[in-house]
Symmetry: C2
Subunit: 350 residues, 2 copies
DNA sequence: TTGTAGGCGTTATCAG
DNA sequence: CTGATAACGCCTACAA
């Protein structure tokens, strides 16, 4: 009916003055609290008549169940903990959004915490999350040992990314870094480059050494010798990419291309090349890894290996939901994809 | 003592098999549950003897209070809701980290939600947060009306950023966008530029129009006419910066500098200039706004106005804590600071 | 199918 | 200063 808005249905307006309880709904609907609970949770079959009454009462009262009480009494909080390494970081940002998007429609809320690449901090996050009684934990790129992770999975479903690991209540989603790096190097080789420098990632991380392996394998697969002089250490952040280029230029060993283990370092490398008056791609071709959102806007746009961060988040969340439902997740990350943009070009014929 | 690790102190190891309750602690310490609660919360003065006993019992049992029960019984959850527009976004990321860093040592946990610049979604976030019984809500760059925000503040402390708004339980933190834009334009003028193009932000956002105003005021303050032809609309994202440059170049009206209302658009503009064969800063000087983390690694490094995102987060969280404590926040954001990097240089003397 | 009773783990209010 | 005794709001046997 097109009645003018009555002042009583306060719920949609958003001023929760009086905490409406399930009990009040029960009274209004003329049923017992348990019945209301059953209907709201679909825990049991109820007569259509009562269901109607309850639904209506819920609506007119604007009742919203109290998650705290629900969690305390029912043992489930409908919240899942997400430990990320750096909440600021274009890469993680996309993953978190994926998680959010997947969880939200299912009535679950993510609880984000940052561990800052610190195992101790990560352990603390896990404890806090346990204490908060989350229904499961997703760890993005854990720094903790496999056994520590497995231990956590004893009491809660756990999903991790960036590692190969399976267990009772544990699922892992891993990206094929080796293949990605192989692909990137192959690309450079196919453009006629043979003196391809490599800026490594922080080799503390397994994915960094995988990328290193991929680089080397592609080289050797093409009959090009792996030259340690062309391999300079980086730490996965911009400055290290810049410094790597400085080192590369200083040591006089010629190179016509650079493959950086991630886009952040490629960005730093681009700046370094610019400062040395080396043009990309005319003088040096540059390829990154990750496909950060802004790499396509770099000048010139960066050729790179696409990492499906958003999808990673979605799949991780989806797998967690399956684990919670007692199902066995089967999600797999897509294979690495090479994006050829303007930063890589054919090697000059000397 | 250097005793070898005993197998009993299971707490630090992280395998919460048996949920230890406050009651168990009470029993072990030989006191009543209420006393344990008092000691743990510092709610009342207790004899030193009992305190010792309780502290010890807590430790040996590895007791961790259940936040859900605490929230239900005490009415406070020690969690504060944070609604952000885009959880992925270098700008928000830094702010979220600031919030995290400020809250954590005080025993509070942030609860992040993204509203995606959508007022409806934002309203839903507020409701969800209310339902979760957070102790307060921080809204970063709200899209909701002042009155809606004020309404929320009726039932909970609220802190907003990017808007001027005060109320009983409401505090706002605003950045001086006008001054920042004024400063940026002034910088270009002082370099001898007079044909300064401006790429606007999404003028739906108050900060965008403030920046526009600052640009215009600086121009007019220097006796340079405001030329609508040089003002092209942008939407605060990279593509729009790129398109703006295309439009600018196409319309043939000469310009020697571009001031973009944010770094993302400046990045897009840089790419556009590159594609048109225009060099930065030799042919066109470029200045952005925000100082995103990677702007310093752009090629060339981008001159811009620094926005203290991390600090914004810290101050917002600190103000929230004060509001909760019944104090009146007084935090102020620092004045805009110009960072001169390599993307801006003296205008060529024609 | 539906109602009653008890409990989830704390905090708060009251007596002592 | 300290210990009972209620709530807090909901779920889940258990009984009807």
């Amino acid at each position: 009916m097109t009645t003018h808005s009555a002042p009583d249905n306060a719920a949609p307006a958003g001023n929760p003055k009086t905490p409406v309880t399930l009990e009040m709904v029960a009274k209004l609907a003329g049923v017992s609290p348990s019945t209301v609970s059953r209907i709201l949770n679909g825990t049991a079959v109820v007569s259509e008549a009562k269901r109607q009454a309850v639904v209506e009462a819920t609506k007119t009262l604007g009742f919203v169940p109290n998650p705290l009480a629900r969690g305390l009494a029912g043992g489930r909080t409908f919240s899942i903990g997400v430990v990320t390494q750096a909440i600021d970081s274009p890469f993680y940002g996309a993953a978190l959004r994926g998680i959010e998007d997947e969880l939200d429609p299912m009535g679950y809320s993510p609880l984000f915490m940052s561990a800052h690449w610190n195992p101790t901090a990560e352990a603390r996050c896990l404890e806090l999350l346990h204490a908060r009684r989350v229904d499961g934990i997703v760890v993005l790129m854990p720094r903790l040992s496999d056994s520590a992770l497995l231990a956590s999975a004893q009491s809660l479903p756990v999903v991790v990314t960036g590692r190969e690991l399976r267990g009772e209540r544990l699922y892992s989603l891993n990206f094929d870094n080796f293949a990605g790096a192989f692909r990137a190097t192959e690309h450079l080789l196919s453009l006629g480059h043979t003196d391809i420098a490599f800026i490594t990632g922080d080799e503390e991380h397994p994915d960094a050494s995988e990328r290193h392996r991929g680089y080397r394998a592609a080289l050797e697969g093409a009959g090009v010798a792996y030259n340690p002089l062309l391999v300079v250490p980086g730490m996965y952040h911009e400055v290290s990419g810049l410094e790597a280029v400085n080192r590369l230029v200083a040591q006089q060993r010629p190179f016509t291309a650079i493959f950086a283990a991630n886009d952040q370092m490629a960005t730093g490398a681009a700046l370094g090349l610019y400062q040395h008056g080396l043009r990309v791609p005319q003088d040096v071709s540059l390829v990154g890894f990750d496909d950060l959102p802004n790499s396509v806007y770099a000048t010139p746009p960066l050729s790179t290996i696409h990492q499906p961060a958003y999808e990673l988040g979605r799949l991780a969340a989806a797998s967690m939901l399956q684990l919670i439902a007692g199902e066995q997740p089967t999600a797999q990350l897509p294979t690495p994809e090479l994006l050829v943009r303007a930063s890589s070009a054919a090697a000059r014929t000397l």
